[in-house]
C-alpha cells in the first residue's frame, strides 16, 4: 500500500459519496448543482489567469532554448529548422508539434542494462496514451458544449457524429434494442487514464516519484468519466431536464428541474472540483507549456541580441588592475603593456 495513492483514492471516493448523499438524502441539489459549480468556475478562471500572469510577470532574462538539432550557421549546412529554430516561424511549428503532438515525449526511449549490455529500447506507450488521453478529453469537452448552447453549433454535432461511429442497434418490429451511439472518446479517456494510473503503480521508479497530487487528478478524472459513462449508458438521467438545467447555468438563471438522477449532480460536483483544483496543481502544465523558455524561443541569440530587463552592472577585474599587478613580469616577458611603469 502506498499512502500517496490511498490518500487520493479515499479522498475521491469520499467526495463522490458526499455529493451522492448530499443530493439523495439531503436534497442539496442547489448546492452541488448550482452554488459549487459557480464558485468553482470563478476559482478556475481567476486562478488560471492569475497563475499565468504570475509567470508572465517574471521576465525571460536569457534566451535558453534546448537545441535538439543542427543550428543555423553556414549556408551549406542543413539546419534543423524545427528542432533548432532560428526564426519565429520555426518556433511556431516547434510549439505546435509540442502542444498538439507531444513531440518531445515522442523521443522517449527506455534504457536497459542487461549483462553489461546497454540498450535504448523503443518506448512510445506513454506518448501514445498521453496523446489519447488529452485528445479524447478535448473531444469530450467539446461534445459537452451541446449542453451549454442552443442551437447546438454544427461542429459539436459533427464531432458527435464522428465520435459515435460504433452503434449497437437491433431495430425491427419485434425487438427494439439499442444503445445510444457509443462515444469512443469517453471510452478512450477512461482507458487512457487507467493506463496512466497503472504505470504509476507498476513502473517502480515512476511509483517512487509519484506524489498524492499525481494520483488525485487521475482518480478524479476516472470518477468523472465513470459517472458520465454511467449516466449515458446505464443509470439513465432525464436528458431534457439536464439540458434545461445546464442552460439555466449558462444564462445565469439557474433552477433545479425535477427528476434528474443523483449521478448527474455527482458528475457536476466532481467536474467542479477538477476546475477549482486546476489552477493550484500540476494541471497548469496546460498553460505552462506555452511559456516554457526552452521551447518557445528561437536559438538566434548570437544573431540578434536578447535583452535582459534586469541586467545590472557588476564588479569586474579590469585590464588596468590586471596590468598593474603583473606589469613587471609582462615587460620582462616581452608582452606589450599600456603603461611602461
Amino acid at each position: 500500500m502506498n499512502k500517496n495513492y490511498m490518500f487520493s483514492l479515499v479522498a475521491v471516493i469520499f467526495l463522490f459519496l458526499i455529493a451522492y448523499v448530499g443530493v439523495e438524502a439531503a436534497g442539496l441539489q442547489w448546492l452541488f448543482g448550482i452554488a459549487i459549480p459557480y464558485v468553482a468556475t470563478i476559482i478556475f478562471v481567476v486562478g488560471f489567469i492569475s497563475r499565468v500572469m504570475k509567470w508572465a510577470y517574471s521576465p525571460v532574462p536569457f534566451r535558453i532554448p534546448s537545441t535538439c538539432g543542427q543550428q543555423a550557421s553556414l549556408p551549406w549546412i542543413r539546419q534543423a529548422t524545427i528542432d533548432n529554430p532560428s526564426t519565429n516561424g520555426g518556433v511556431i511549428v516547434r510549439m505546435a508539434l509540442e502542444i498538439l503532438l507531444f513531440r518531445s515525449l515522442f523521443r522517449n526511449m527506455r534504457f536497459e542494462l542487461k549483462e553489461g549490455k546497454f540498450s535504448y529500447i523503443w518506448e512510445k506507450w506513454l506518448w501514445l496514451f498521453a496523446l489519447a488521453f488529452h485528445w479524447s478529453f478535448l473531444v469530450v469537452l467539446v461534445r459537452h458544449l451541446r449542453f451549454f448552447t442552443e442551437p447546438v453549433p454544427f461542429f459539436v454535432r459533427y464531432l458527435e457524429f464522428l465520435d459515435s461511429v460504433f452503434r449497437v442497434e437491433v431495430l425491427n418490429e419485434v425487438v427494439q434494442v439499442g444503445l445510444p451511439g457509443v462515444f469512443v472518446s469517453g471510452i478512450v479517456l477512461l482507458a487512457a487514464v487507467i493506463f496512466l494510473f497503472l504505470r504509476r503503480i507498476f513502473i517502480t521508479q515512476v511509483k517512487y516519484i509519484s506524489l498524492a497530487s499525481d494520483y488525485f487528478p487521475l482518480f478524479l478524472i476516472m470518477a468523472i468519466a465513470f459517472s458520465g459513462i454511467m449516466m449515458r449508458y446505464f443509470v439513465k438521467v432525464d436528458i431534457v431536464g439536464v439540458k434545461e438545467f445546464t442552460m439555466g447555468l449558462v444564462t445565469f438563471s439557474p433552477s433545479v428541474p425535477e427528476g434528474i438522477g443523483s449521478v448527474f449532480y455527482v458528475h457536476v460536483f466532481l467536474v467542479s472540483l477538477l476546475l477549482a483544483y486546476f489552477p493550484f496543481s500540476k494541471l497548469m502544465h496546460l498553460g505552462g507549456i506555452f511559456l516554457s523558455p526552452t521551447r518557445n524561443l528561437a536559438n538566434n541569440s548570437r544573431a540578434q541580441r536578447h535583452v535582459n530587463p534586469w541586467n545590472y552592472p557588476v564588479h569586474v577585474h579590469t585590464y588596468e588592475e590586471y596590468e598593474d599587478e603583473f606589469r613587471e613580469k609582462m615587460i620582462e616577458a616581452g608582452l606589450p603593456v599600456e603603461k611602461e611603469s
Binding site: 517574471s58 523521443r107 557588476v314
Partner: protein, 543 residues
C-alpha cells in the same frame, strides 16, 4: 586515479536502479566519499567577494552557516522566482511522468533515485511548494511540500553537485523542463551561503585575477606557448610564433586555458597555433591571443549568473581594448553555451566590433552578427568548404575516430555538423557512435559543470558510464581508437574515463586532427604527429 576506486565490473554491477525502502523525503542524506567534491577554499570565495567565506567540510555535522540561513534562502528563492520565468514555470508544471528518469547519465550510472532529473528538481520544488504555494501551505506533506531543514539543504548541495547541467533530460521533457536551469539556480542559492565546491571556487578566483581558471600569470602563459613553438618546430620545421595582447590585430582568439595546460588539450592548442600560422603565411591572416582574456571557459556559470557575467566581461573588454574586428573562439563546451545564450545579453551590445567576416573566404557569419564571436569549427568548416586548406588526411590514417558531441554545443547551441565536416575532411577513418548517444541525444562525459575534480572519481566514472559504453561499442565494432571532441573539459576528463572503461581509446580535439593533416608552407617531411607518435608508414623508420 584514486586507489580505493571500485573496479569497473563492480560499478557496472552496482549501477541498476535501487529502490530505497523509504520514500525519498524520508531517506536520509548520506554524503559518500568519491561522490562529492571538496568544499570551497575560503580565500577563493573571499577574493571574488562571495558570501560566507570560511573553511568547512561537507562531512562535518556543522557547515558553519550564517545564523539566518533559512531566511537568506527564502529571500533568494523569492528573488529568483521573480527574475526567471524558467524557474517559476519549472517549479509549477512538472507532472512527474518520469520520462526524464533514465535519460540522466548519473541516474543510469549510480541508480540513486535522487539522480533522476525529476527528483533532483523535486528537492527544491518541495521547498518551493512549502514556502510559495497555497496548497503546499495548507496540505504540507500531502501536497509534496516540506520545510527547508539542514538535511534538505545538505541534499541540495550533494545532488546539485551531482548534475553536470548537460540538458539531456530537457530534450525528452514534454514541457522542456531543464534540470540544468534548476541546478544553476540551485547552486546560485547555495552560493548565497558559501556552499560551493573548491573545484569551481578556486578556478573562479583564478580567472578573475589572472584571466584564466588555472591561474597562469601572463609571463607563464607566454612561456607555456613557447614550449609549444619549440615542439611544433621540431615536428614540422616551422616556427609558428603567435602574438599576444597586440593592438590593431583583426581578430582576437580566446580558448579555454585547459588547452594550454594539460595533455591532450595541448595538442589542440598546438593545432590552433599551426592553423593560424598557415593562414598568416598563405593569406595574411591577422590574429592575436590575449593573456588578460586567456580563458574561454567560465566556471562562474557554475556559481551564479552574476559570477558568470563578471568573468565573461573580459572577452568584450579585451576585444574593445585591442581594437579587433571580431572574436574567434576555440573548442570548449560550456564556453559556447555562455557565448551563444548569455554573453551578448549580459555584456553586449558590441557596437565597437564588426560583423564577423572570414578574411580568407569572405563568408559572412550571419549567425554571429550580434555577438561577433565565431566558433573555430564554423570557421574551419568554411575554410575547408572553400578549399583554402591544403590537407593530407592520410597522416591521420592510424587514427580510427569517433566524435563525442559535448553537451553544451549540442543542446545549448546545436553545433553538430560543423565539427563532423571538419573531422571527416582531415581523417579517413570516421565512425559514429549509436544514434541514441550522439547529437542532441549525446551523453555527458560525466564530469562537466565543475565536477572534474579528483576526489569525486567514483561519481565521474558512474556518470561517464553511458558515454564510455557507446565508445566501447564502436571500439569493438569498428576498431575506434580515438575519441574526438570539441571541449576542453572533455579532453581533461576523458583520458581517465577511457582508461577506466575502454582502455585502448585515446582522446583528441578537432584542431589537433586538423593540424596533423595540414600541409604547412615550408614544412619539412613530418615523421610524427603532434604527439610525437610515428605517422602511418613511418613506424619502421622510427626503429
Amino acid at each position: 586515479m584514486a586507489d580505493d576506486l571500485a573496479k569497473p565490473e563492480e560499478l557496472l554491477e552496482n549501477s541498476g536502479y535501487k529502490r530505497p525502502a523509504t520514500g525519498w523525503m524520508d531517506t536520509p542524506i548520506d554524503i559518500r566519499p568519491g561522490m562529492y567534491c571538496y568544499a570551497s577554499n575560503p580565500k577563493s570565495v573571499e577574493y571574488v567577494g562571495l558570501p560566507n567565506p570560511r573553511a568547512w567540510n561537507p562531512i562535518d555535522e556543522d557547515w558553519k552557516l550564517p545564523e539566518n540561513w533559512q531566511e537568506i534562502l527564502h529571500k533568494g528563492m523569492k528573488e529568483r522566482l521573480e527574475r526567471f520565468r524558467s524557474f517559476r514555470i519549472f517549479m509549477d508544471i512538472c507532472v512527474r511522468c518520469g520520462a526524464c528518469a533514465d535519460k540522466c547519465h548519473f541516474f543510469i550510472g549510480t541508480g540513486d533515485p535522487k539522480n533522476m532529473p525529476v527528483l533532483r528538481a523535486e528537492l527544491i520544488r518541495s521547498v518551493y511548494r512549502n514556502d510559495f504555494t497555497t496548497f503546499g501551505k495548507i496540505f504540507k506533506g500531502v501536497a509534496g511540500a516540506r520545510p527547508l531543514t539542514l538535511d534538505v539543504l545538505k541534499e541540495w548541495w550533494y545532488y546539485f553537485f551531482q548534475c553536470t547541467e548537460c540538458r539531456r533530460c530537457s530534450v525528452f521533457c514534454p514541457y522542456g523542463i531543464d534540470t540544468a536551469e534548476i541546478t544553476i539556480i540551485g547552486r546560485e542559492l547555495l552560493n548565497l551561503l558559501g556552499l560551493n565546491i573548491d573545484w569551481i571556487a578556486t578556478p573562479v578566483a583564478n580567472c578573475y585575477r589572472t584571466g584564466n581558471h588555472l591561474g597562469i600569470q601572463p609571463h607563464a602563459f607566454k612561456d607555456m606557448m613557447d614550449f609549444f613553438i619549440e615542439d611544433i618546430e621540431e615536428i614540422t620545421g616551422v616556427n609558428v610564433e603567435p602574438s599576444f595582447n597586440r593592438k590593431g590585430a583583426d581578430i582576437l582568439f580566446i580558448t579555454p586555458s585547459g588547452d594550454v595546460f594539460a595533455d591532450p588539450g595541448t595538442y589542440s592548442c598546438m593545432g590552433y597555433m599551426m592553423l593560424f600560422k598557415y593562414l598568416k603565411d598563405k593569406y595574411g591572416f591577422d590574429i592575436t591571443w590575449s593573456t588578460y582574456a586567456s580563458e574561454g571557459g567560465n566556471f562562474g556559470f557554475f556559481t551564479s549568473h552574476e559570477t558568470m557575467k563578471r568573468l565573461n566581461s573580459k572577452m568584450y573588454a579585451e576585444a574593445k581594448r585591442l581594437g579587433v574586428k571580431w572574436i574567434l573562439g576555440g573548442e570548449c563546451g560550456h564556453m559556447w553555451r555562455v557565448i551563444n545564450q548569455y554573453m551578448d545579453t549580459m555584456n553586449g551590445p558590441t557596437d565597437f566590433l564588426e560583423e564577423p567576416v572570414s578574411p580568407i573566404t569572405g563568408t559572412k557569419f550571419e549567425n554571429a552578427r550580434s555577438t561577433k564571436m565565431v566558433h573555430i569549427a564554423e570557421f574551419v568548416a568554411d575554410l575547408i568548404k572553400h578549399d583554402k586548406l591544403e590537407l593530407d588526411p592520410a597522416r591521420n590514417d592510424n587514427k580510427i575516430v569517433t566524435f563525442h558531441d559535448s553537451c553544451n554545443p549540442a543542446r545549448g547551441m546545436g553545433m553538430l555538423d560543423e565539427p563532423r565536416y571538419v573531422i571527416q575532411n582531415v581523417c579517413n577513418n570516421f565512425y559514429e557512435m549509436p544514434p541514441n548517444t550522439i547529437r542532441e541525444n549525446t551523453f555527458c562525459c560525466g564530469s562537466g559543470a565543475g565536477l572534474n575534480a579528483g576526489e569525486d572519481m567514483e561519481l565521474r566514472m558512474c556518470g561517464g558510464m553511458p558515454r564510455a559504453n557507446a565508445v566501447k561499442y564502436v571500439h569493438e565494432k569498428n576498431g575506434v581508437n580515438m575519441l574526438a571532441c570539441v571541449c576542453a573539459i572533455d579532453r581533461a576528463v576523458f583520458p581517465a574515463l577511457m582508461d577506466y572503461w575502454v582502455p585502448d581509446v585515446d582522446v583528441t580535439g578537432m584542431s589537433e586532427l586538423v593540424a596533423n593533416a595540414l600541409i604547412m608552407p615550408g614544412e619539412k617531411e613530418r615523421d610524427t604527429d603532434l604527439r610525437g607518435e610515428p605517422l602511418p608508414g613511418k613506424e619502421e623508420e622510427d626503429e
